[in-house]
Every structure is written in structure tokens, then in C-alpha cells.
């Protein structure tokens, strides 16, 4: 089987660095634009909820952060797995870049969830609630991954060892997602992926989806920027980076 040329090029640091450089302004601009539009639409224009009134408006932030956290874990695990099996160094760099972003968004999901929980459930934090516990577990997996990385001096070894941890931990992602259906959680079930279509009217749904798109693009932008930094750190002495530094100098 012959793979297309661009596929092979994805393993080449200079190619990916330049690709990221070209894509970044688009992803960043479009992502931040969508976030701005979605925020105003969701917080000001969209009608209040019949049950939760104005409090529900955090739905334009909270599910999106949780989704980005889980997506970051999956990206990290897939990239780490690819790096482990085919020994692609760039894939390891991508996995390392995704980890801190994912940890931060998972933390934000826990925080926004706590803020939403106080007015609706009457408590910021419910010990033993399956959704909260498994989301916290996701955060601990990110932190464990980063801690294990930090313990190694040798970067190649750290890449390969932490890849195994990342791949093993991926079983937690479906558990987080389905925890609201498998157990009796305080957490409401998914609004978007519910049976018989989204459980929202379109004047709420459109800003909701705009925020999802905005968070996804903004995450991709952050990921590419971190990946560029990681590439520079790893390939620091390569000729093309020195040339880049000369080109980029004012």
C-alpha cells in the first residue's frame, strides 16, 4: 500500500512546524472569534431556561471544557500509542503538548461544574458522585502522566514509558462519558447526544454548538503552539531551526 506524500511528511518536524505556523493564525483567529460570538449569543441573546432560568447559561462553557479535556486525553493517548509503536518522535512531542492543556481544561470543567452545582444541586462538590469522581480521576491521570515524565532524565525513555501509561488510562474516557447513564449521578445526562436529537431548542442550540466549535479550534491552536515549542526544544540544534532563528530575527 502506498501512502500519500503528505502522510509521510507529518513525521517530519520542519514540515509540521511550518504547517503549524501557517495554520495557527486561522485556528486562533477563527476560534477566538467563535468564542466571542458564542459567549455574547449564549449569555445575552439566548432565552432563559424554563427550569433553571439564568443559571443554565453556564452550559455554554462547562460541557465544552469537559469535552476538550477528554478529547485532549484521547489525542494524547493516540499520539503516544503511535509514537510507541512506530517510534515517531513527533507523535511523542504531540502527546506531551496535549497533556498540560488537557489537565487545565479538565480542571476548568471541575471548577465550572462546581459553580453550576451550587445553585442547582445545592452543593459545590459531592463526594462519591460517579461523574465528578471519574472526571477527577481524569485530572489525576493527566497529573500522573506529567509527574512520571518529570521523573525521567532521559527524554526518549520518558516518552516511551509515559506512552504506556497514557494508553492504559484511555479506558477512563468512555467511563467518564457514560458514568451519567451507568450510575445514578446527580449530573444531568447529555443534552446534545440524547435520544431523539438534542434536548434544546434551536435558539439555545446554535450558540451551544458555536461554543463547541470555538473551544475545539482554540484547543487546536493551543496544541499547535505548544507542539511548535516542543519541536524547538527537541530539535534545538538542528540546522533548520538555526536558519529559522536567523530568518525570524528582526
Amino acid at each position: 500500500m502506498k501512502l500519500p506524500r503528505w502522510f509521510h511528511q507529518l513525521g517530519s518536524p520542519p514540515y509540521v512546524y511550518r504547517l503549524a505556523e501557517r495554520l495557527s493564525p486561522w485556528l486562533g483567529g477563527l476560534g477566538c472569534g467563535l468564542l466571542a460570538v458564542g459567549t455574547v449569543w449564549g449569555l445575552v441573546i439566548a432565552p432563559p431556561d424554563y427550569q433553571q432560568d439564568e443559571v443554565y447559561r453556564i452550559i455554554y462553557i462547562h460541557p465544552q471544557t469537559a469535552y476538550v479535556g477528554m478529547m485532549a486525553y484521547v489525542i494524547m493517548a493516540v499520539a503516544a500509542g503511535v509514537g510507541f509503536v512506530w517510534r515517531v518522535k513527533l507523535a511523542h512531542a504531540a502527546a506531551v503538548s496535549a497533556a498540560p492543556i488537557g489537565a487545565w481544561f479538565t480542571f476548568c470543567a471541575l471548577c465550572t461544574g462546581a459553580i453550576w452545582g451550587k445553585p442547582t444541586w445545592g452543593t459545590y462538590w459531592q463526594w462519591g458522585d460517579p461523574r465528578i469522581m471519574f472526571e477527577a480521576l481524569l485530572l489525576f491521570l493527566f497529573l500522573g502522566y506529567l509527574a512520571l515524565r518529570g521523573a525521567f532524565d532521559d527524554r526518549d525513555k520518558a516518552d516511551r514509558v509515559t506512552a504506556i501509561l497514557a494508553v492504559v488510562g484511555v479506558v477512563n474516557v468512555p467511563i467518564v462519558h457514560y458514568s451519567v447513564e451507568w450510575w445514578n449521578s446527580l449530573h444531568q445526562t447529555s443534552t446534545l447526544l440524547s435520544e431523539g436529537g438534542p434536548a434544546m431548542t434551536s435558539d439555545m442550540l446554535i450558540p451551544f454548538l458555536i461554543m463547541f466549535a470555538g473551544f475545539t479550534l482554540a484547543f487546536s491552536w493551543l496544541l499547535l503552539r505548544r507542539l511548535q515549542a516542543e519541536i524547538i526544544e527537541r530539535e534545538g540544534n538542528a540546522r533548520w531551526i538555526r536558519e529559522l532563528a536567523v530568518e525570524g530575527a528582526p
Binding site: 510507541f84 480521576l137 500522573g144 509527574a147 512520571l148 521523573a151 516511551r160 504506556i164
Partner: protein, 221 residues
């Protein structure tokens, strides 16, 4: 299969030659179990209520203590590298080591739990369920512990980090294990959580050795 037997028998022999080390996790378990009533100064009724959780968490924590003996000493004296060079597949070797480790460290711990549960005034009808739940959780737990030990085998000081890696993964075990015990205390059938624990054990024992073997290989590179 002969490789499995050879490694299994060797690990048992090595473990029993250093039998005093085997007692450390057990003593640690007893101390943790004794500290909780001191800290809470509970009534008999309260002790019975917190008993399940305290015993499970104490068992998890003390099982972590034994983890250095799994790969570290073999890696230090080079015998782990010899095992890696042998024609036997590393997954089988790892499975034998994990099985031997579980037998000498987790089994005595599980035998201790019903005794301490009884001292916590838990109803004796629930003790068989508790022991069964622990037995079903043991394979998964030992696979997680071995994974933590394997991931840190290349590190000089891996001890403190292993807890960060292993303990979060044990969450599901804790949920199903304590649920089974609580159900049988209330006189309801604990079948469902026990079956979940069994399913996790099958999954862990069949997939875990692959990941552990990979981690050991990378760690020794």
C-alpha cells in the same frame, strides 16, 4: 508453560527467603486499621458504617508497600535482563511474577481483612462477601501495582510516584468492592458488583501483562 512454572517457583522461593519483608504490608495494614478508630473515636454503630471503606482503603494502601520487590531487586542484580533475553515470551514471565507476588502479598492481606472486619463489629454474614470481593479484586489490583512498578523500574527513586499512578486507577475496584460489601450488609444479593469485579479481573489479567512487559522492556533499555 514451563517458563511460567520456573519463574513462579523462583519468585516464591526468593520471597520466602526474605519472609520478614512480607510482613511489612500486613503490619502497616493493621496500624492503619487501628489508627482510624483512634482518630474518629466512633461509636460501635459508626465503626460498622465506616468499616467497609476503611478496610478497603487500608488494604489498597498497604498493597502499595510491597511493590518495590516486584521488579526493582531483579532489575538491580541483572536477573530481570536475563529473563528478558530468555526465549520465553516476556508476557508469560511477567504474568508468573505478578501471580507469585499476588500470592505472597495480597493473599495474606485478604486473610487478615475478615478478622479486622469482625473487630470493627461488621455483621459476620457480610464477611464472606467481603473476602470474595477482595479475592476478585486482587488480580486487577496486582496488575495495576505491577504496571506501576514496571513504569518506574528505570527510575532511581520511583517509590513516591507510584502511588500517584496506581491509586487513581483503583477507583473502580473500590466502587464495586465496597458496593458488594454494603449490599450484603443490608441483606441484598451482591451478585452484580461481584460480576463486575470478575470482569475487570479477566480484562486486567489478559491485557495487563502486555502493557507491563512493554514497560519493563522500555525501563531496562
Amino acid at each position: 508453560m514451563s517458563a511460567f512454572h520456573a519463574v513462579f517457583a523462583r519468585d516464591l522461593r526468593v520471597a520466602f527467603r526474605r519472609w520478614s519483608e512480607l510482613a511489612h504490608p500486613l503490619i502497616f495494614f493493621l496500624i492503619v486499621v487501628a489508627l482510624f478508630p483512634l482518630a474518629l473515636s466512633p461509636t460501635t454503630q459508626q465503626l460498622r458504617e465506616v468499616g467497609t471503606g476503611v478496610l478497603w482503603v487500608a488494604a489498597l494502601l498497604s498493597s502499595l508497600l510491597s511493590l518495590d520487590g516486584l521488579f526493582r531487586s531483579d532489575a538491580d542484580d541483572g536477573s530481570l535482563e536475563q529473563l528478558l533475553l530468555s526465549p520465553a515470551p516476556m508476557t508469560i514471565t511477567v504474568l508468573a511474577k505478578v501471580a507469585a507476588h499476588a500470592l505472597v502479598t495480597l493473599l495474606p492481606l485478604i486473610c487478615l481483612v475478615p478478622v479486622t472486619a469482625w473487630s470493627y463489629n461488621m455483621p459476620s454474614a457480610a464477611l464472606p462477601t467481603m473476602a470474595l470481593a477482595l479475592l476478585l479484586a486482587a488480580p486487577t489490583l496486582s496488575v495495576f501495582i505491577a504496571l506501576g512498578a514496571a513504569l518506574t523500574v528505570g527510575l532511581r527513586r520511583g517509590g513516591s510516584i507510584v502511588g500517584l499512578l496506581v491509586l487513581p486507577l483503583t477507583g473502580p475496584l473500590l466502587i464495586f468492592g465496597t458496593r458488594a460489601t454494603d449490599l450484603s450488609i443490608n441483606g441484598e444479593p451482591p451478585t452484580a458488583p461481584l460480576l463486575f469485579l470478575a470482569a475487570l479481573a479477566v480484562l486486567a489479567v489478559s491485557l495487563g501483562p502486555v502493557a507491563i512487559a512493554a514497560a519493563v522492556k522500555v525501563g531496562l533499555e
